[in-house]
């Protein structure tokens, strides 16, 4: 019931989910059922690429939830994504077992290389998938909770908060670069073999990972939609527009922020965990402040405070990135910067705003009764 309620009036979201469902059906068929020689065959490379876009889209939805609806411009959401990714990476490292270069049954290669004798305490448990799945949400969630608790209770807002989030992800990047941290230093975690016993290189596993990403995006989207259509969502928008007023009405603004912020970080963690097995590597570069800024640009281009705009923005910009970095490698950053300037100047509501304007010209049946 609430599944339908929370999607009511969200035409863009419904279209997005319908397209997502169609893609989720078409991609496995085109990849697995159509023979490799056919013009209709979709390469496994493309499947993985699409899967990667979908995890980015989930990350963008998480950012839109806090930026569009709560007014917190996070320039450090990449950190939560990367932490989720590292948790999954640790599981995949443990799955390698004695098939590594050094053949140590327990220690990952980089630890043997560093002459470590035993597994650091925080690597225990990551040989179990359920534990990893828990950590994928708990670690980013806990960091976000502690960070949010401190920041929001002291009423740090606006630009200051954005800078602190930026510093957070930068500090984590520097920390993860260090070999002593025990996360593989600047090489990160890679050379993964299999997940839950399935070969990561096989077409079937790739397709399942793609489908898992699509499902995670759909569920994450619905969960965010559920939040923003609830009374809590209306409180969040009120916090965005007139925070002191919300406090005077009697809401604990800091708690509202911490709750939504932590949830968003958990979503980002899930996105990161799905991203890593598909790209096959996680390294400290994922913490780079530039990543977090780029992902804010996706949301801005897609259109803030629409959720589906974030999905559209993430997929389009990343498709553009794949295309440009292949065709004109030097031009990509200029293209991204130019796109951001153009959108800010001419499409302040992003692509979603443009779509809304176009659909408003011709009256949509039944809209007035909503």
């Amino acid at each position: 019931m609430s599944l339908i309620n929370s999607m009511r009036g969200d035409t863009g979201g419904l279209v997005m989910l319908a397209v997502l469902a169609a893609v989720a059906v078409a991609v496995p068929v085109l990849n697995l059922a159509v023979p490799a020689g056919s013009a209709w065959h979709l390469s496994t490379y493309t499947v993985t690429l699409l899967g990667k876009y979908l995890t980015y889209a989930l990350l963008a939805v998480a950012v839109d939830l806090v930026w569009g609806y709560l007014g917190i411009l996070s320039l450090g959401h990449g950190a939560f994504f990367a932490l989720g990714g590292y948790a999954m990476g640790m599981y995949l490292m443990r799955q390698i077992g004695d098939r590594g270069v050094y053949g140590d049954p327990v220690l990952p290669d980089f630890m043997v290389f560093l002459n470590w004798k035993e597994l650091p305490w925080f690597w225990h448990g990551f040989d179990m998938f359920w534990f990893t799945a828990l950590m994928v949400v708990l670690v980013p969630g806990l960091l976000a909770f502690v960070f949010g608790w401190l920041a929001f209770r002291s009423r740090v807002t606006g630009v200051y908060l954005s800078i602190i989030t930026q510093a957070l992800t930068y500090a984590l990047m520097l920390a993860f670069f260090r070999n002593e941290m025990g996360f593989g230093g600047n090489n990160g975690l890679t050379d993964f073999k299999d997940i839950l016993g399935f070969d990561l290189q096989s077409d079937g596993t790739r397709v399942v990972l793609f489908l898992a990403s699509a499902l995670a995006l759909a569920l994450g989207y619905w969960a965010c939609r559920r939040i923003v259509t609830s009374k809590l969502g209306r409180v969040a928008v009120a916090v965005r527009d007139a925070e002191p007023r919300v406090r005077f009405i009697g809401y604990r603004v800091d708690r509202v922020k911490v709750a939504v912020w932590t949830f968003s970080a958990m979503l980002a963690g899930i996105a990161g965990a799905l991203y890593v097995p598909q790209v096959g590597i996680i390294n400290p570069g994922e913490f780079s402040p530039l990543n977090s800024i780029e992902l804010v640009v996706w949301v801005a281009i897609g259109g803030r405070a629409t959720l589906y705009g974030a999905v559209v923005g993430a997929v389009l910009v990343n498709y553009g990135k794949t295309y440009f970095t292949g065709a004109f490698p030097e031009a990509w950053l200029f293209a991204l910067g130019g796109l951001f300037v153009l959108v800010t100047l001419f499409l302040p509501q992003g692509i979603a705003g443009l779509l809304r304007q176009l659909s408003r010209r011709k009256p949509v049946a039944g809209e007035a009764t909503a």
């Binding site: 939040i227 609830s230 009374k231 809590l232 209306r234 409180v235 928008v237 009120a238 527009d241 007139a242 002191p244 007023r245 919300v246 406090r247 005077f248 009405i249 009697g250 809401y251 604990r252 708690r255 509202v256 709750a259």
Partner: protein
């Protein structure tokens, strides 16, 4: 004498049917207005960087009373409101809500929850939300995060929103975004949002600034209709407006009460004329 009163105090605090004051949660406190006043401000002092904004202020408001507070700029009107709502902490003095509730021990949201509502000088409504949603958000009720996430409007709550819409005269604007309302309508909506919290005490800061004469008349009617059920403190500059609603007027000057009485008494008080009306 001191021995005796000390003993009595000891007996009082050791009564077995009572908890120690510091152990009582603010949520269990009942508003007690049995002695008349709903608000007691006594001996308040506040200074900002050496400037004494509030200077030994004593101020009382009776339950159900509509009180106007006037005073020149910098007289401490807004600071007084800030102290009552917990935004500013005084350097010394006491602020009690009824007999028992110590406002200085409570945080801003707690003060809002025990029944003190404040309307700001500048109308601040939630512009992106509809009139209905503005009232819904302001409604008294469980405002913790998870209950809010799963909140549903009950028929009684809908009824309460309709009732307040009637009081503030915005029934036909219910689906409009608050940002699209006129200045006066925003002010009424904000008063409506205060009413949704079922406050015992309303603090209203310059309600008619920037209003047309018709709007001022409607606002006066609205505020007058509230007295009795709620206690209302109005801070206002507009003398005509104050005259049209006030029974009792308090004049603030340099952070303390200069005079108090009916509008006629105030206007004939030479000190008031000197600092304020005479200008």
């Amino acid at each position: 004498m001191t021995m005796q009163s000390g003993w009595r105090q000891f007996q009082e605090s050791m009564r077995r049917d009572r908890q120690f004051d510091f152990m009582v949660s603010w949520k269990d406190l009942e508003l007690d207005v049995s002695h008349g006043p709903i608000l007691y401000l006594e001996g308040l002092n506040v200074s900002f960087d050496g400037f004494r904004a509030i200077n030994d202020l004593n101020f009382y408001v009776d339950a159900g009373e509509l009180r106007c507070v006037i005073g020149p700029n910098g007289a401490g009107k807004t600071t007084m409101m800030d102290i009552i709502t917990g935004k500013t902490r005084p350097d010394s003095g006491s602020a009690f809500f009824g007999q028992t509730i110590d406002l200085l021990r409570l945080s801003e949201p707690e003060i809002a929850e025990i029944g003190i509502g404040r309307k700001f000088q500048k109308p601040t409504v939630f512009e992106q939300h509809t009139v209905f949603e503005n009232l819904e958000l302001a409604m008294a009720g469980d405002k913790r995060v998870f209950p809010t996430l799963f909140a549903r409007l009950s028929p009684e709550q809908r009824g309460r929103i309709d009732e307040v819409l009637g009081i503030i005269g915005l029934t036909d604007q219910v689906r409009r975004p608050a940002g699209a309302l006129s200045h006066g309508q925003k002010q009424w909506l904000e008063i409506g949002m205060l009413l949704m919290q079922d406050p015992h005490l309303l603090l209203v800061d310059e309600p008619v600034a920037g209003m047309t004469h018709q709007e001022m008349d409607r606002t006066a009617e609205l505020l007058l209709s509230l007295q009795g059920r709620h206690s209302v403190v109005v801070v206002e500059h507009d003398m005509d407006f104050v005259r049209s609603i006030a029974r009792r007027v308090t004049v603030l000057h340099q952070g303390s009460v200069l005079a108090e009485g009916s509008m006629d008494e105030i206007q004939n008080d030479p000190r008031v004329v000197e600092v304020y009306l005479g200008e």
